[in-house]
Assembly symmetry: C2
Homo-oligomer: 304 residues x 2
């Protein structure tokens, strides 16, 4: 059951020859979600063999160019690829105006609807829900309104003991409720506790994306215990003052948040171009939280 | 005396893993001009070690996304790099509105002025002139208003015969007029024809950029005899009908224009993604015009 994160870009404000601006694709059970969309995201998708048409939901943390300037080109290409499915974009309300400025210059209408969902900036807000997954936004503190995103898999169905079900000739009509945890009484009155019929499923997984922000302790309860946390780490501690001024975080601060939230693994990115050797950021974070990993364009991480 | 063209992107509507959307940098005697600016142009500049701050004039042929969507990111990065010089953009008037949509979302003003020059769509129009160079636009025929651009070096000064000047003790005050072609009379009344004092300079060079268009014979006089012509060749002859419908050209048609205009060399690009092997386009064009060359991202061509 796939739950994995592909890094399309991990640079801060300006791209480098090898690091594009922020963009990630999260694959949750073959549903593909785009998180931020810096310039060149569609190029990375092609390089990494991700079909843009599989993406139906795009989450934009904030309207700094390095987090959304890949959208117009992606939308245009989706149109040229013959997309017809609705495209849902979750972002600050201003993005709708901006995208419409573009669409006005297109010489033929795109063949699909873009449905904008305007982010709110107080507490945990449910953005999306299906039978397997819920997605929430939560406010961060940056120079402009900014959100993080939380992807939480729902509890999985219990694993049915197939041999037992066959031996007891349990009718198919009963199987779903048993997978959901119900006990079973056979037609001849025998009672079976659910634990004899099923095994515990794999626990549900979760991923949290913490975009540009100062270190913000109030997000800890929202991301508590996630399997994988991405937290920006634009600077090392040597630039803590600058981080504060620019409303960004240091690698140490990202690690402190990961530790406070008891997450399993921490990914850092959005590196300032001043760091040619990124291990300084990784080492600084690992002093606080050992399970810290650098992101690079093209990296893939399993969420588990 | 450098006059060279660097290809930043040569794909048509959608980028491929190796070919970005249309963008080129023309270096005329260390003046750098950006011609079209598809998504990722600033990334290519970094990969090819071209400093964006050296670019003061940008020419956008038309407002299809694959020819201008790299601009917002480039402008944003120029601001972050601390640019203060004016930036001149020559484009359809609608681009000004579009760029202003972006600038409105920036949380701090960029530290330089953007001066928009609105393109006209009749005949050869002078866009730029300095002591070494003139740049003109000329109308093409595509689905939306589109221009090509002509870069013409001015006549160079004649090469002074240094030894002769020294022997005749020609005053420095006279040298400029002699380089410009004047004869010389010495204080003691001796007359020297200019041809005894100077040698012919290298002839001035020229480059023409023909963006998205149907085959358009009326451009031939405007680009007549240029050293280097870039002409879009989205399709091969097998798709001549589609080329017509989409208001694009075939490789053969690009070559026919090159031949009619007696240019020295032809570059083709803006390839449809359907052509995995581009030699079909090159071969088709070379049947009509032998001096045809494919463009690829990163290629550099001397204009001479």
């Amino acid at each position: 059951m796939s739950f994995s994160l592909k890094i399309l870009g991990c640079s801060s404000a300006t791209p480098t020859p090898n690091r594009y601006s922020t963009a990630q694709v999260l694959n949750v059970l073959e549903r593909f979600f785009l998180i931020d969309c810096g310039e060149g995201a569609q190029i990375r998708m092609r390089q990494y063999k991700i079909n843009p048409l599989r993406i139906n939901h795009i989450f934009i943390s904030h309207l700094h160019g390095d987090h959304y300037l890949g959208l117009p080109g992606l939308i245009s290409s989706m149109g040229l690829q013959g997309r017809t499915n609705d495209l849902h974009i979750y972002a600050n309300h201003q993005l709708e105006t901006l995208i419409n400025c573009f669409l006005d210059t297109f010489d033929h209408p795109i063949g699909f609807n873009i449905i904008f969902h305007h982010l709110e900036y107080s507490g945990l807000n449910l953005l999306y829900e299906d039978d397997k997954l819920t997605i929430y936004s939560f406010p961060l503190r940056h120079r402009i309104p900014t959100c993080g995103f939380l992807f939480k898999e729902k509890n999985r169905l219990r694993h049915l003991n197939g041999e037992m079900a066959k031996a007891l000739e349990i009718p198919i009509s009963k199987l779903q409720s048993i997978k959901e945890g119900a006990d079973y009484t056979s037609p001849d009155g025998r009672f079976f506790e659910n634990k004899f019929l099923t095994k515990d499923p794999e626990p549900p997984h979760s991923y949290a994306f913490v975009s540009d922000t100062v270190k913000l302790n109030k997000i800890v309860p929202w991301i508590d215990g996630v399997d994988l946390l991405y937290h920006e780490a634009t600077y090392a501690n040597d630039n803590a003052e600058r981080a504060k001024t620019m409303h960004h975080s240091t690698a140490r601060q990202a690690a402190e948040i990961a530790a406070s939230a008891n997450v399993k693994r921490l990914l850092i990115g959005h590196y300032s171009n001043r760091y040619k050797d990124l291990t300084i950021l990784q080492n600084e974070a690992r002093q606080v939280f050992a399970e810290t990993y650098l992101t690079n364009d093209g990296d893939e991480f399993e969420v588990k």
